[in-house]
């Protein structure tokens, strides 16, 4: 475990994204929607980290705050050694080519008044000093890479189908040779038949170009297909972060367990996992529970869960869980390392 050098491309620590609430006649700041409340994880170079969770749990917000499309309230995001959260706007703009995003809605995320060639080549105009011919060549090359016919270069986004539009979105994200791509539910708006194509394209590009992905999705089977490791989010916090196979075989956190029990088994003859139906609703992120965020719905909650927030700690090699149920197992792995450090740099060298 120690002999293999771990090269983290992205290191997120204690990321918080609060959206302020202003109420009353004087628009006083009376509270915050804690969309992301202290999230820490690392993404290694070349891997795909899946980020799953139900609607409104803060998945997309994490993705956007990571690329500073939102101004994070607190925390740091190190991407290849630079803290994205504190860069000034000009330095951030210069940094953008290394980190890109594929957006959820391929229709709305493309400017309706620009042709495909304009959309893909615009970042090249901004960040390179290439002449027109070279840019056009790059556009065509990218269109080939994502499987779009070269003849479409002068068409407008509305002339394409959803799957083709998402390919445009991917080509656009690839234009500047990024290292890290946040895929924010890239397949959620697509037809099932197209979903597989797009996911395969993403995987193919990853192998060829050595990309690192943060794959945000609520589609558990798709995440199972593409991700190397999976983080399960609940109400702005990570409940569990585990390698894919271990997580799907045996989820540790009660929420992860409940969530994964919802995955359909494709083979009807195989024994189905018992479906865990959670009671109640997700609490408001503006007013999360005092203790563990999941304590209001957790079937295994006990007294302590209602008092303290559990930290995300490593309980098995490579597996991190934020749950008091596993607290006694913790020392098994963190060999003589100070605990304070494991809190913020959870999947250190032990992976």
């Amino acid at each position: 475990m120690f002999d293999q050098p771990v090269n983290n491309l992205v290191e997120v620590s204690d990321l918080k994204m609060y959206f302020p609430i202003y109420t009353g006649i004087f628009r006083r700041h009376t509270g915050d929607v804690k969309a992301v409340d202290g999230v820490s994880f690392n993404i290694r170079e070349g891997e795909t980290l899946g980020l799953v969770g139900e609607s409104g749990c803060g998945k997309s917000t994490v993705g956007r705050a990571l690329l500073r499309l939102y101004e994070p309230t607190a925390g740091s995001v190190m991407i290849s050694g630079e803290n994205i959260a504190t860069l000034d706007s000009e330095a951030l703009r210069k940094k953008r080519p290394t980190m890109q995003m594929v957006f959820q809605d391929p229709q709305a995320s493309l400017n309706p008044r620009m042709t495909l060639a304009d959309i893909i080549s615009e970042p090249l105009i901004e960040h390179t000093d290439w002449p027109v011919e070279r840019r056009l060549e790059r556009v065509l090359e990218l269109m080939d890479a994502v499987g779009l016919n070269r003849r479409f270069a002068n068409r407008f986004p509305h002339e394409f189908s959803g799957g083709q539009r998402q390919r445009i979105g991917i080509a656009r994200a690839l234009a500047l040779n990024p290292k890290f791509i946040v895929c924010d539910e890239p397949i959620a708006a697509l037809d099932v038949s197209i979903q597989a194509q797009v996911v395969n394209l993403l995987e193919d590009l990853q192998t060829r170009l050595g990309l690192t992905y943060l794959f945000i999705s609520h589609d558990l089977s798709m995440v199972r297909h593409i991700a190397d490791r999976v983080a399960v989010m609940y109400l702005g916090r990570i409940a569990e972060l585990s390698p894919r196979d271990e997580l799907f075989a045996k989820p540790l956190h009660p929420y992860a367990e409940a969530l994964l029990s919802a995955v359909n088994e494709p083979d009807p003859n195989r024994a189905r996992r018992e479906r865990i139906i959670l009671q109640g609703d997700v609490p408001s992120p503006a007013n999360p529970p005092k203790g563990c965020n999941f304590c209001t719905r957790c079937p295994k909650a006990f007294a302590r869960c209602h008092q303290e927030k559990p930290e995300l700690v490593e309980v098995e090699p490579g597996r991190q869980v934020a749950c008091f149920l596993y607290e006694d197992k913790k020392p098994a792995v963190s060999i003589g390392r100070p605990e304070a450090k494991t809190e913020h740099n959870q999947q250190g060298e032990t992976l």
Binding site: L69, R93, F103, L110, N111, P112, R113, P123
Partner: protein, 335 residues
């Protein structure tokens, strides 16, 4: 696009005919008589003869048919003659004003330049003020600038021009003496001195109307910008690492211009229509004051002709706005 334009132009013909019918008969039904302008000292039989000569006594459908022929055939022919020096329209009866006994179109040709210069400048100034204000207000929504812009727009909306115009006259012409109180229509621009004089006498009416125009256009601009500012493709542009200037002026502004251009295009007929109140207030003898004068004098041919010209312009600019829409938004195709 061409088919669409032609189709719309063909459809405009019955529309305009219907409008002309309504205008003609409505104006004709209005109480009052052109005879009221003739001094009472004129003997009754002379008065009757005058009216007879004016063609007032003919039945309304005869006058309508005649007017249609004059408007669509004789007047264009006459305009063609005066342009090319030919004599096709010689001896044909043009539309004659009851008031001045001279052709209505001569009056229009005399009055129109004043209106176009003053009202047109006011409109242009209004757009030039409104667009940047709208953009910046939306970009810094709820900022002090935005609040101030909103206040200014509210004032522009709610204060009628007869009040703001009078106020400007009192402040800038009477108290400070910077500008003349009245617009001098007879001024000919020949050199720099007279040009400067023209600019000074135009300032107050242009300011009065420009404020009113800017108020509404800046609101349209702001709301359209705000609507687009929150769109996903704007986030995409930021994620591409484009500068804020490119994001706002290229991505957001171009998409926001679509409704604003429509509003601006639809407002252009009002330039030709003149701003009746402002023209009267500052003594700009343009089309607007011609219309008011004609209404006072029961000058039916003048009122009918002017109202119909405005109707044509409105129909035309509606069409232009639609065509512009298609040019600006690639998603709209009229095929």
């Amino acid at each position: 696009m061409l088919t669409f334009t032609l189709r719309r132009l063909l459809l405009a013909i019955p529309t305009l005919l219907l409008i002309s019918l309504v205008i003609f008969f409505l104006v004709d039904l209005a109480p009052g008589s052109p005879a009221s302008e003739i001094p009472l000292t004129v003997p009754a039989e002379v008065r009757a003869k005058i009216l007879e000569a004016m063609g007032v006594n003919a039945p309304v459908y005869v006058r309508y048919g005649l007017w249609l022929k004059q408007f669509f055939y004789i007047e264009p022919l006459y305009a063609f003659d005066s342009l090319t020096g030919s004599h096709y329209a010689e001896g044909m009866q043009r539309i004659i004003s009851y008031q001045t006994r001279s052709p209505v179109f001569d009056v229009i040709v005399q009055r129109l330049p004043q209106t176009l210069i003053v009202i047109g400048t006011a409109y242009l100034v209004g757009i030039l003020i409104a667009v940047p204000i709208g953009i910046y207000s939306a970009y810094r929504q709820y900022s002090l600038f935005d609040q101030f812009g909103t206040l200014l727009a509210m004032i522009g909306f709610s204060v009628p021009t007869f009040f703001s115009g009078t106020l400007f006259i009192i402040i800038f012409a009477v108290w400070f003496g910077w500008f003349p109180t009245k617009y001098d229509t007879t001024l000919n621009v020949t050199d720099w001195a007279s040009f400067w004089k023209q600019v000074r006498q135009m300032t107050l009416p242009v300011m009065t109307l420009g404020l009113a125009n800017a108020a509404s256009i800046s609101r349209y601009m702001r709301s359209s910008m705000l609507e687009n500012m929150g769109q996903d493709y704007v986030r995409t542009a930021r994620a591409k690492g484009m500068s804020e200037q490119t994001v706002v002026l290229k991505h957001v502004l171009r998409n926001s211009m679509i409704p604003v251009v429509t509003v601006i295009a639809l407002g252009i007929p009002s330039i030709f229509g003149g701003a009746i109140i402002t023209e009267n207030l500052f003594g700009v003898s343009g089309i607007g004051s011609a219309l008011i004068g004609a209404i006072h004098a029961n000058d039916l041919p003048m009122v009918q002709t002017l109202a119909f010209i405005f109707a044509i312009l409105i129909v035309l600019f509606n069409l232009i706005a639609d065509v512009l829409y298609g040019l600006l938004d690639p998603r709209i195709r009229y095929d």
